[in-house]
Structures are given as structure tokens and as C-alpha cells.
Symmetry: C2
Subunit: 300 residues, 2 copies
């Protein structure tokens, strides 16, 4: 069986096709430019494959996921120039009359990580996936389902206790100023220091400040959902960074609730090479295909 | 059918019996003193009723809710003097060999509110219930189930952005200092002003500060879960207080995600006279009874 996957990120798109074991057979990566150009490249890639059964899309957001909404399948209120109110699913559907799964990039990653643990024999009750990169977001899987009734989580935009050495930084979120994304996303390095994050050594105190904020985000997800595991991916994340996050998390939570071994609780992604969202999109595509196939089977 | 309900609060216990329509037939209220005395009074009340089918307990926390734990049914890490590591369910079970549902007071209230809306013809996808009183906590119902994989939510203990007129207040949470509970629970009035909250007029700026913090808590729950409705109960809550909360919430969220009419989204409890947890406990008792009756029916 051939399934399609779109990881629609704010910086780049990764389109892939894979089988029902979520093994990728071919993929293509291109930068996220205008909606027109980027969607044209997406369609062109999938047109090469004759027998796609379903497509899973994990997109940067916010997006409309309520099927009852006339804007279902749109990227909605994004600060990304040119992408506000972009119809995505209908354009894809017009070229590919197959079941399409539609969720956020971080939900796709969360689902991919959940599936990866399941394939490895560990059935988690719930998992939260944070990306810390150009932006900050989180996806949550509980009992095998994505969390969010009236929309998807937007956990990058919560407010936080400020670090005592960072009180004067205004934050860079165009909507909230000093929310988590405004204080701890990758571009805040440049805003604070004039240097991009990848050029700032981990010994610089700014990394410690960023870890303090990310730890608060992780603590909020912990206290809201009591998940089995929290995965932190994205360009800013690394095992060395998570060491700092765990230290802050331990101090901030102060053992108020038990989360077990922190090295098993706050972790880097299990799927290698940033593949979580691709695996998740393929798995969601398969689930959507199976859902759409069910009524037919009953009628037969 | 006769069902039992215990609303085990940090200040007072309310024990009640009701029927399968959750109509209360008799109830008793007494102060929460020592565990021994308080549990003795609880048992004495229920012993008056010959044919209790099940009991639902909604307790102050934190509590252990994982049935796999040897501490299942305990109140665990509470700052309340004398109550740390108190066995509750086993003591109740020893006198009443009936199914016992065990959850937090706020989960009980959340479930009661969910049931009240359902009875009124409104099936909500999800609901979060905050109590703002002696402490702050939240319970969450999604798709008819209580949220929390490895434990129950503890949303009173998240950190927040400080109000600019409140930067010097250290907060009163013994675990976290200036978490939500440490900054916005009822006793913070006394700690800030030397006067109890009920004696502070709503025009005092302290109410505005408290509303600012509660609005951030509500915003976190919104961005984590995207619930259909957020109910705020507890001694500090009132319609006048919620007006202030809504104003802050609107400004803080800055329309980043849609929540619909705020007056329908952030609301006082639907169940009158602080009855949400009693209704929830009775409903959870009934659900526990039905669950325990199922295997018997299969064997018959």
C-alpha cells in the first residue's frame, strides 16, 4: 500500500510516500515560500505516484481542524507572511480524491513518536511532543487519540514566570510578546544577543534561560495531563539542552507530583533524523484510509 | 437505587446519599479536622443507610489514583497538616463492601458539571472545572472521561507571568511560592492585605491582580486542551469576579485561538449551591456500580 505524507513546516516542506509499515520509499524537501509555489511543488511530487491510498498532512498552524467549519483544512491565524487563511486540504483534495488526514505538525510528530514507541513494544497511555525551533508548539496523544476538542493545542503561547536574569527582554511573539514562544524559540537568541542560536555555545547563560522557560512549559503539560512521556524536538533541542531542562524542571516542580526517572520522562525524539512527523503523517493517513474503508466494507 | 457521595474538601466534608438521578435525599456537613475524626464521621453517616450500591469520593489532593499503586486510594503529598499519606478508600471499603469511585474534588466537580449540562441537553466535548478557594485546582472531562494518565491534573501549581503591581509578593505555596495557587488562592488576600478575601471589596486592585492570574490559568487550559467550556467555582469565584477574569483572558489571549462567546466559555457552576462535586460523585458512583455489575451479568 502507498501512503502520502506532508510535513508542512514554517521553514520547509517534506513530502514523502511510504508503505503501511511507515517505511519511506521516496521523499523530497523544499523551502516554504509562497502558498502557491509551495503547494504546487507538493502536488507535483505526489502526482508521480499512481496509486496513493491516502495522504496525511501535518502542518504548521494555527489550522482549522473542526470538520463542521467552512474553513476546515485551512491554515488560519498564522503570523507567517502570506500564509494567513490559506486553503490547504481542499486544494490537495481536488488533485487527489483519497482520504486526507489533517493535523498540526506537532500533532503529527506526537503521533509518530507514539507509534514509534508502540512499534518498539511500549504502549504509552499518553505522550506530549514539544517542538522548540523557529516557533514553539506541542501535540498531545492520549489513549491513542490526539487531544483537542474545539481545536488543536497551542502550548507555545502560554505565559511564564520570568527568569531573574531576563526581566528586560520583551519577547518576540507578535501576538503575546513574552509568551513561551516569544521567550524561548530559536529566533530569541538573535533578538537577545544579535547572534543565531546555532552560534551560541551551550555554556552561554542564555541557554540556561531558554531551558528554564521550556521546563515551565513541560511542567504545565505535566500538571494538565500527567502524561507518560514528554518528547522535545525541534532545532533548539538536543540531549545537552534537555539536561538543562530536566534540572530546571526538577527544581520548579519540587517533587509535587511523581513523574518517575526524568531521563525517561523528558526525552529527545525516538524517530531519528527529524522523522517523527513523517511517521505520524503516514500513520494518520493509514488510520484515515481505514476509517473511510469501514462503511464500504459494511455495505458490501 | 441508593448511592453515596463524599465531597472531601480541605475545609469541610459533605457526605450525601442520592438516587440514580443524582437527587440528594440526605446530606451532612462537618469540618475537616484530623483524618481519624473526619473519617469516623463519614463512616457513621453512611452506616445509617442499609442498601448503598456504590460510593463516589471526590477528595482534596494530591491523591493516588493509579490502581496499580500500593498507595491507591491515599491522599498523598498534601501540605494539609496531619493528612499526608492518609489511606481513605481502604478504610471506607472495609466498612462498605461496595464499588467505590475515587477521584479529586475538582474532577468530581468537573464530572458533575459535565453531567448537569448533559441532563440539560448540551453534550459538551470537553469541560475544565477550576476551583479558586482555599487552594486552586482543576479537573478536566474529555469525551466523557476524566483526563490524567499517570495521575490527576494539578493545574493550581503552574507558574505565571507576574502582574506588574504584584512583583514583590512572594506567594504562599509551600511547594512553589509564586505558582497560581500561591498567588491567587483565597488566603493570598490575607497574606497581601492582612484582611480575609470576603472582607475585601471587589473594587480593590487586589481582585484585579487575582483575576489576572486566574485568567492565565484558564488560558493555559485553553491552549492545552481547547475545551468547550471552562467552569470556575470555589469560594473566590462569583459572576462579578469572572467579569474581571474574562477581560484579562481576552487581552492575554489576544484572539490567537477562537473560543466563541466569552460569557458562555468562562462560566460559574451550573449546579447550584456548590453541588457540582456531589452530583459528580454520585454519577461516578453509578458509573463504578455499572462497571462492576457488567462482569456479573456476563457470568449469569
Amino acid at each position: 500500500m502507498l501512503l502520502g505524507s506532508v510535513e508542512a513546516g514554517g521553514t520547509k516542506f517534506v513530502c514523502a510516500v511510504g508503505n503501511e509499515d511507515f517505511k519511506v520509499q521516496e521523499s523530497v524537501t523544499f523551502p516554504t515560500t509562497t502558498p502557491e509555489e509551495t503547494l504546487r511543488k507538493t502536488l507535483a511530487f505526489f502526482k508521480k505516484f499512481a496509486d496513493l491510498k491516502a495522504i496525511g498532512v501535518s502542518s504548521f498552524g494555527p489550522i482549522e481542524i473542526r470538520k463542521s467549519s467552512p474553513k476546515y483544512g485551512y491554515i488560519t491565524n498564522t503570523p507567517k507572511p502570506g500564509w494567513k487563511d490559506t486553503d490547504f486540504v481542499n486544494k490537495l483534495q481536488a488533485s487527489f480524491p483519497v482520504p486526507i488526514a489533517w493535523t498540526t505538525d506537532v500533532n503529527g510528530s506526537a503521533y509518530g513518536e507514539y507509534i514509534a514507541y508502540k512499534k518498539a513494544g511500549l504502549q504509552l497511555s499518553s505522550l506530549a511532543y514539544y517542538t522548540v525551533g523557529t516557533g514553539i508548539g506541542a501535540g498531545i496523544v492520549t489513549d491513542g487519540k490526539l487531544v483537542g476538542s474545539e481545536g488543536h493545542p497551542e502550548l507555545g503561547h502560554v505565559y511564564l514566570k520570568r527568569h531573574s536574569a531576563d526581566l528586560n527582554f520583551k519577547g518576540i511573539c507578535p501576538y503575546h510578546g513574552d509568551c513561551l514562544e516569544g521567550l524561548a524559540s530559536g529566533p530569541t537568541f538573535k533578538a537577545r544577543l544579535g547572534i543565531a542560536g546555532q552560534d551560541v555555545p551551550l555554556t552561554d547563560p542564555t541557554w540556561n534561560i531558554i531551558a528554564y522557560y521550556v521546563a515551565q512549559g513541560v511542567m504545565q503539560a505535566t500538571l494538565a495531563l500527567r502524561p507518560s512521556k514528554i518528547v522535545i524536538g525541534g532545532g533548539v533541542s538536543s540531549e545537552a539542552f534537555l539536561k538543562k531542562v530536566r534540572l530546571h524542571f526538577k527544581k520548579l516542580l519540587n517533587d509535587y507530583v511523581a513523574v518517575g526517572d526524568l531521563e525517561q520522562y523528558i526525552v529527545t525524539p525516538k524517530v531519528p533524523h527529524n522523522g517523527s512527523a513523517i511517521m505520524g503523517s503516514l500513520a494518520l493517513a493509514l488510520a484515515e484510509y481505514q476509517k473511510s474503508a469501514q462503511p464500504k466494507a459494511t455495505n458490501a
